[in-house]
């Protein structure tokens, strides 16, 4: 869906779903993952339907990921850091 630019120095290593990736620095987690071909980021807690980043500017809260153990982080607002461990949120809650 998205294509990374050629000739970019991928100097940062992150782990996503137990797999490691080399990515370019100075970009957000959501952008880095989309550049690696990961569009779907989570499942809705209400219906369990798949969701992905929508606005990329901190408005929609659809790009939520578990980052370094902390769930529901806005991945379009957080810059990649060396050694970052990222997980999808796939649980569906029973909802009131």
């Amino acid at each position: 869906m998205f294509q990374s630019p050629p000739n970019v120095a991928k100097t940062i290593q992150i782990t996503f779903e137990e797999k490691t990736y080399q990515v370019a620095p100075a970009q957000t987690v959501a952008a880095a993952l989309m550049g690696e071909g990961h569009l779907m980021l989570r499942k809705s807690l209400v219906s369990g339907e798949t969701r992905a980043a929508f606005c990329m500017m901190g408005i929609c809260f659809d790009c939520l990921l578990e980052i370094d153990g902390q769930p529901n982080q806005q991945s379009c607002m957080i810059q990649v850091r060396e050694g970052m461990n990222i997980q999808r949120q796939l649980k569906k809650g029973e909802c009131a």
């Binding site: 998205f2 294509q3 952008a31 992905a52 606005c55 990329m56 500017m57």
Partner: protein, 466 residues
């Protein structure tokens, strides 16, 4: 505990915020700029410093206004304003104490301002239709952000949906970068150009914008993308992610297109989360169907010492944002005794004159690209309106029929607006649906009460527990 004190706290480091900071520093004010993004530029000039430095070829392609914005960013960097990127405001108290957190999960910080400038810009107007939550459906500005900040370009079957200058601009930027656009679905009604004609003479004063607009249209129409005009209905479909879209023009039969990526745009609207939380008075701007804070010519809101500049007031573009930012800073310099009224008036005169020119095209554009049904109130009653809590059009209409006549009454009935986005993505649509069901204007229906926290904050951050 003594709080860090500032004369002027500016929220947002886009064109308005940067210009205000530069102006305020020239008059000797002690300025703090808090911005949610990691770098200056706002959404429009996102990542501008890196672009200029690391991708000079692409930077050149972005045009002359980028050069100007880059120079503004440099002046801002040199201005002596304290700049804190990556900070989100989660509350502002009535005494102008601000609470902000970083994206790193660190402790919340607090400071106090004599005066506050809210320059938080605009956001995409929600454009709900069946399937708009599927992965692969994005706001068109999201594609722009991905390109500017990470150099990512969309690939596959790319479909654009909507109307307005920003959609065209982003489409042309993608075309310039070599992206192939499969289809451009224009939702503008056929009548709009004729309705906009009376505003054309005044708009010609902003002829540079018109020339650009026509050039963009030409580029789009000759790009090889299939252009479909007057689109009135859309459904996105796919297993787990977008695979196809169906669209309708008027009463014609539905047509289907394969799609990997669908980029949406239904105009942008002011981001009013902070002005609402503060309790500033807002009014309904009928022409573009959004809420905006009530402002005077200096950007002052109904709340003392709180002002707004740029597109978080009324959406008028980046050049006007720079001017409103400077005007607001002059008002603050006067209010804090750095200049007198005569100096303020003299310094403001050329800015106001320039603003008059800048705004000349707005009535034309606002009429040429009106937000329209069915994109305001989805026809399909099963369409999700609140993406967080997954509330559908039908449920909101049912709540209205049970007597919930305002967003604050509908909210506890069906949960719309109760999720983490705090109604940013559904607020306008909820107002529109209630108004439609009651056959009144959204102005009579009102908007959600916005409360702290404006952004999620952990219990530990709230209490200062590490």
């Amino acid at each position: 505990m003594s709080l860090p004190q500032y004369d002027y706290v500016i929220i947002g480091a886009g064109p308005a915020g940067m210009a205000a900071a530069v102006e305020a520093r020239q008059h000797g004010l002690n300025v703090l700029v808090l911005d949610e993004q990691p770098a200056v530029g706002g959404q429009i000039y996102r990542n501008i410093e890196d672009l200029e430095e690391q991708r000079p070829d692409e930077f050149q392609k972005l045009g002359a206004d980028y050069q100007e914005a880059f120079e503004l960013a440099q002046r801002f960097r040199a201005s002596g304003a304290e700049y804190r990127p990556g900070r989100s405001i989660w509350q502002i108290d009535p005494d102008l104490t601000l609470y902000h957190i970083g994206q790193d999960g660190g402790p919340s910080e607090t400071c106090h301002a004599q005066r506050i400038l809210i320059a938080t810009g605009a956001m995409e107007r929600p454009m709900p239709f069946p399937g708009w939550t599927l992965p692969g459906v994005l706001a068109c500005t999201a594609a722009d952000v991905l390109y500017k900040s990470s150099g990512l370009l969309p690939r596959g079957e790319i479909v654009l949906l909507g109307s307005g200058p920003l959609l065209l601009l982003i489409a042309c930027r993608l075309l310039d970068a070599g992206v192939k656009i499969a289809a451009y679905l224009d939702t503008n009604p056929h009548l709009a150009p004729f309705q906009a004609l009376p505003y054309l003479p005044k708009a010609l004063r902003g002829h540079e914008y018109l020339r650009k607009g026509i050039a963009m249209l030409w580029q789009m129409f000759t790009s090889g993308a299939k252009v479909h005009l007057g689109v009135t209905g859309l459904e996105a479909d796919g297993e787990g992610h977008l695979q196809k879209v169906r669209f309708q023009q008027g009463s014609a039969p539905w047509k289907e297109l394969p799609a990997d990526l669908l980029l949406l745009h239904h105009g942008v609207v002011p981001n009013i989360q902070i002005t609402r939380q503060l309790g500033c008075e807002h009014t309904w701007y009928e022409k573009q169907r959004y809420w905006e804070p009530v402002l005077d010519q200096w950007g002052n809101t109904s709340i003392e010492n709180v002002a707004v500049a740029g597109d978080s007031g009324r959406v008028c573009g980046s050049a006007n944002s720079v001017l409103t930012g400077r005007l607001a800073a002059l008002e603050t310099a006067r209010a804090l005794g750095k200049i007198d009224l005569a100096q303020q008036t003299a310094l403001a005169a050329p800015l106001l004159k320039k603003q008059d020119q800048e705004l000349a095209i707005r009535p034309f554009l606002d009429t040429l690209f009106p937000p329209r049904h069915p994109w305001l109130v989805p026809k399909n009653e099963e369409t999700l309106v609140c993406r967080c809590e997954e509330v559908r059009v039908r449920e909101i209409r049912d709540a209205v029929r049970l007597g919930a006549l305002s967003p604050d009454r509908v909210k506890p009935m069906v949960r719309c607006g109760m999720g983490p986005c705090q109604a940013r993505m559904c607020g306008l649509t909820v107002s529109e649906i209630i108004a439609d069901e009651r056959q009144v204007s959204p102005a009579d229906v009102g908007y959600f009460r916005v409360r702290s926290p404006i952004k999620p904050v952990t219990l530990g951050q709230l209490t200062g527990v590490e």
